[in-house]
Symmetry: C2
């Protein structure tokens, strides 16, 4: 798509401050998941996400929300991005404060802005379908006071995601949301699937700057006031001092809790693309091509004997000889080798804690 | 021991030209086993062997027999060694040609020389006992026309070693040898053990320069003539050209076959030290200290859960997290990771062939 054909009012806020510790040892505090080429495609997840958004949104309108420690990684991996586009959190907070802050900056720059907020570390199969869904939402947000989200059609009763219930009677593409539901237990998740009008919450939101700021004002007046106070200095040389002083005062709440669960004007579009949050080694395994023995291999040159169902990753072209392992995660990086059953993948966070406790914080 | 107290007639020939491919991926053609710190002691095997010999033998009389490609490694790891002490094979041959060649060089330098020929990649526990055994042999060789060897008391019917049968009636420390036996089958090995007068052949030989050269002359007249022809140029600037031209013509035979199996004046001293040829990952495992779960660990920082009996090696201080593996060889180096059952360790040579065939010769 030609740059000129992109709507100058379209903006994106790319969430890139998380760590993804279940992907240890590849994902670490110094070098988290979104900055890795997890799929072995030649692009890191943030590069893939940026390029996907850039199909619809002018590159210079894509803002990266991240932590100071990842500043260099952002500029290295997204060389077209300028300092203006990188919004740094001076303190670790959940999503609401940084989204409000970035939205105010964008509104000050362009009062007519509509924007998407999206994670930087998910996998989306059909990029055209993604763009179409976002475009539909943007069109609606331009003329309606709407908080919108893309919901993923659930394929099984996953207890690790939040769910979005929409109006069952709706026959239009854009559906009114009844409620957001936190991670359910298995039976509840199963009933959601059976009811047919529940979607997975993928953390993808769309709205106009005007609407989201107004929603913050109504639902989170204190938080709103904290950041609204700085409006005059945003996008100026005085912004940094203001943010350093005030950001740490912000409540540590998610945008789901702060806005979506409390508002009436919430809408969802059931996504028409295939999605995976790449939340664990197992979900990455599911997305990757497999060899004849169902081993998923990223970067490695593997010689496998009597070894099947394994998720194998190393640095590029490393030889991995494996004999006799089934359904293992085998991940090698310079300073760490992990050989771990896939069935215990939720335990990797604990392993990381044990490694840090035994051998030092530098390994996390 | 003080330098001055060492006998200037004592010499050593350290065999350091082999590859040890069952220790792949650590041992490779470019960087074989003897140049690695296999035991994690801070010294490579050749350094340990050199220092062990230097307890009895003047350092400048220890010659290193190796291949041209390992020249730099020798000087790097044995910085006191000079060019005079490094004898390079211009072609890959079994042990007889290079031992004859080195013996002639030593005889030319010192007609009264007695010498030990020893592998550079074995493990010996009690260095004092080793020196005592060698000293006993040297004393005997100085006044007798004897080809001597140290034999290891067998602990089980190993079918991977050659055996030495000595005169059962002998009550002295030095025993006359009846015969050398190639690697036996299991039943034969068992009968050797039952008979009580069989020892493992560790490839450690002692003799005077005069005796070994005379033995070559009698038993291998052609080989003797080939190298004797160069006697006038040895230890001069013309030696290299002569050897480059003539060495490739030498028969590819072992010193066991060329001399020991054919001679009458062969004697053995049953070793009084504990020995291990470190021939496989399993034999290295046997020699190493174990953690509570019987894991043997070299260099790695290991976090093991439900993992026992494993041989784990990586570069220094690499974290290795292993969950659920039993009796595995887990060896990691920069370009190769091996995860392989200990019970199949004899298959590692074949794995190496497969890796080279699939991914290139550079991995061997």
């Amino acid at each position: 798509m030609n740059m000129k054909s992109k709507n100058k009012n379209y903006y994106a806020i790319l969430m890139a401050g998380g760590v993804g510790s279940r992907f240890w040892p590849v994902s670490t505090q110094d070098f988290p998941k979104q900055f890795h080429d997890m799929l072995g495609t030649g692009e890191t997840l943030i590069q893939k996400t940026f390029n996907r958004l850039a199909n619809l949104i002018p590159e210079e309108n894509i803002f990266i929300l991240t932590n100071e420690r990842y500043n260099d990684l952002v500029f290295e991996q997204l060389p077209s991005v300028t300092e203006r586009q990188v919004v740094l959190e001076p303190a670790m907070r959940n999503t609401a404060p940084c989204i409000l802050y970035a939205s105010l900056k964008i509104q000050k720059e362009n009062e007519a802005a509509v924007m998407i907020v999206a994670p930087s570390d998910h996998w989306i199969e059909d990029e055209t379908a993604f763009s179409d869904n976002v475009k539909t939402a943007f069109d609606y947000c331009e003329s309606n006071d709407a908080l919108m989200t893309l919901g993923i059609k659930p394929t099984f009763p996953n207890t690790g995601y939040g769910y979005i219930e929409y109006d069952k009677a709706s026959t239009t593409e854009i559906k009114s949301v009844n409620q957001f539901r936190e991670k359910p237990n298995y039976d509840t998740a199963k009933s959601f699937i059976d009811q047919g009008n529940f979607l997975w919450n993928a953390g993808i939101f769309m709205w106009s700057a005007k609407t989201v700021i107004s929603a913050f004002k109504n639902n989170q007046p204190e938080l709103f006031k904290l950041f609204e106070n700085g409006f005059s200095v945003y996008n100026t040389e005085f912004e940094e001092d203001f943010i350093k002083e005030n950001y740490p005062k912000a409540d540590n709440i998610s945008v789901d809790y702060a806005l979506m669960e409390k508002s009436e004007n919430v809408f969802v579009i059931p996504a028409t693309f295939d999605w995976n949050d790449l939340g664990t080694w197992g979900s990455l395994y599911d997305k990757l091509d497999k060899d004849d023995a169902e081993n998923a291999i990223v970067n490695s040159k593997v010689l496998a004997e009597d070894a099947s169902g394994n998720m194998i990753r190393s640095r590029k072209d490393k030889i991995v000889v494996v004999d006799g392992l089934k359904d293992y995660i085998i991940v090698d990086k310079d300073e760490v080798l992990l050989i771990f059953p896939k069935s215990k993948e939720q335990g990797i966070k604990q392993v990381l804690q044990n490694v840090k406790a035994n051998f030092g914080e530098e390994y996390g």
